[in-house]
């Protein structure tokens, strides 16, 4: 019976779209706006989140391995737990902060697949002095190339380069807050005094500005051997090992593994920066809630405008049914119309989102942030496309199926 397959459904859909160009355009515009806002807002929030996290990781490693202070135990422990030891001498042992055999530990850690960077560190509390003025703070003895590779140190040096330190044994990369307080500038000398009374005259080879005032007012970087000398220690003396991994979110899950591996204590960045981590968590939850609301609003907007376009064609649906088009044909016609409108709308939505992101990204906020931290995240463009297609599909499918199930006469009677 059916000898020819004239693609009449497609022809009808095409005619509907092209004979009412303005209406098609407006419907597509609805999709465009929905998609663009969806992508733009998600990129905005994610950019903000990434920027905040990046700020945190300017000076904090994902994981820090260190030897905790320990109290010396009672000389003789009573085997009976109900009895109390009366003779006890709790003191912190002097060797406690030292990590033994750091070279082989570093090697072991480097071999872990998730580890992206490892570097040893000697941390010491010091006084910075210039003439009579003095500031207390902390020096971090580092292997500067490794430190730079892990923390991108160079990007927040305001003056000088990180490489100056390797060329100058008694160089120091000084926090801008300290420099300001002591009225120091590049190439000036500063006296660093450790708790053990060791004095070093050091030359400022770079200035550091992380944007975090608490850090900039206290921290400076010096060469590892100099830090060891400040602590009156041998070249094998290490207080911390900094570890960066491929996904900082997984830091917490690796603590016990590294504790077993090294035999030392391990602290993740969230524990080290409890308030920053809490803020990060809050931001994430907020971002999720906002993203969900935007999704709902965008979906509703797209659904509404497409639903309206189909409802306007209700009479056509009744006529088509009267002359023998089945419910399936009707659904096919109107779903393909919705999808075509959707595709046009999505394409323009992607372009619009891209433009908005570029514009926003070129806005100067200043401070340590610089340009507004929004970026083109391909992920959101992908999600935007899928989201748009799913919504337009259902925006076509639901009303079309409702209309397709009706007797043509009941549509005319409305």
């Amino acid at each position: 019976m059916k000898k020819y397959k004239h693609n009449i459904n497609a022809e009808i859909a095409y005619t509907h779209l092209f004979s009412k160009k303005k209406q098609t355009f407006i419907a597509a515009l609805g999709v465009t706006v929905g998609i663009a806002i969806f992508i733009f807002m998600n990129s905005l929030m994610n950019g903000f989140e990434v920027a905040s996290i990046e700020g945190l990781f300017k000076s904090t490693p994902h994981l820090r391995i260190y030897k905790n202070d320990v109290l010396s135990k009672s000389l003789i422990d009573s085997p009976d737990s109900t009895k109390v030891n009366l003779i006890s001498n709790p003191k912190i042992t002097s060797e406690s902060k030292k990590i033994i055999n750091p070279i082989s530990l570093l090697k072991t850690l480097k071999n872990e697949p998730e580890v992206m960077g490892v570097t040893p560190n000697v941390s010491a509390n010091v006084f910075y002095k210039n003439g009579d003025s003095e500031v207390s703070g902390r020096v971090s003895g580092v292997i500067i190339e490794e430190q730079n590779a892990m923390f991108n140190l160079q990007s927040y040096l305001v003056d000088g380069g990180y490489a100056n330190l390797s060329g100058y044994q008694n160089g120091i990369i000084l926090g801008v807050g300290i420099a300001e307080k002591l009225n120091l500038k590049m190439n000036d000398n500063v006296t660093v005094t450790s708790a053990l009374g060791v004095n070093k005259l050091m030359k400022i080879v770079a200035l550091l500005e992380t944007g975090n005032k608490a850090v900039d007012k206290t921290l400076s970087y010096i060469n590892l051997p100099v830090a060891q000398q400040l602590q009156k220690q041998s070249p094998s003396y290490i207080t911390d090992i900094y570890v960066n991994i491929n996904d900082f979110e997984k830091a917490k899950t690796l603590i016990s593994k590294y504790e077993n591996l090294t035999g030392y204590d391990v602290e993740d960045w969230e524990t080290a920066n409890a308030s920053a981590a809490a803020a990060n968590k809050m931001r994430k939850m907020m971002a999720f809630a906002i993203s969900l609301s935007i999704m709902l609003v965008a979906a509703f907007g797209i659904y509404n405008i497409l639903n309206m376009t189909i409802m306007e064609k209700l009479n056509d649906i009744a006529i088509l049914k009267a002359i023998g088009f089945s419910g399936k044909d009707i659904v096919r016609i109107f779903v393909s119309e919705a999808i075509i409108i959707g595709i046009i709308g999505i394409l323009f939505g992607l372009i619009l989102a891209f433009i908005l992101i570029i514009l926003m990204g070129n806005m100067w906020v200043g401070g340590d942030i610089g340009f507004f931290p929004i970026r083109v995240f391909p992920k959101f463009f992908g999600v935007g496309i899928i989201f748009g297609l799913v919504v337009t599909f259902f925006a076509g499918f639901i009303p079309a199926r409702k209309a397709a199930g009706l007797d043509p006469i009941s549509i005319f009677r409305k």
Binding site: M1, F325, S326
Partner: protein, 227 residues
Amino acid sequence: MTDSTIILSTQNVGKYFYEPEKFKVLTDISFDIKRGEFVTMVGKSGSGKSTLLYLLSTMDTDYEGTLLFDGENLTKQKKERLAEIRNEKIGFVFQFHYLLPEFSSLKNVMIPALKLGKYSREEIEEKAYKTLKMLGLRDQALKNTSKLSGGQQQRVAIARALINNPKIIMGDEPTGNLDSKNTSIVFDIFKQLTSEFNQTVIAVTHDNDFAKASDRIIEMADGRIIV
């Protein structure tokens, strides 16, 4: 049970409307229509002619009783099958023409045939042109139907109803908007289809001469058939 000379048969068909209040529009409608018959249906305005015609054409499935068509029981038939039947075997002309406004007259006429897929596009186009020409609309073929006069639209709707050579053509006042010349053209077409091609026509009309010239008149009053 089926008599092959009967194309359409109703048994105790009834229908209610529920808005604004429950009332029975059609009561106990039972009749047979033979193949090749040219039947007209008359009756006062509001007597239920359109309502009945919608049931017969399967476009309204909310009724009681039984409807047999071309040897098939259509009551409780699946919607998809009813759509196929409407496409292939029934040509319907509405009281208010109901054409697709975005398409040309020619396309409107062609669409049911393109849907059916029995002939090639060229054959369909030729047949559509021929039918439009027969109804005096050759020069209107490529015009959008939204730009046609009421009588022209009605003739396009008739052409559309004829395109698939349906077993039955149902018209709800198919000549209601036509002048006497066009009315007689349509009448002659119906007459020829029934007598020469054994197709069947049921036409609602208020035109007494039109009714008298048909093979048989069914008269309705208050939702019942009286003749």
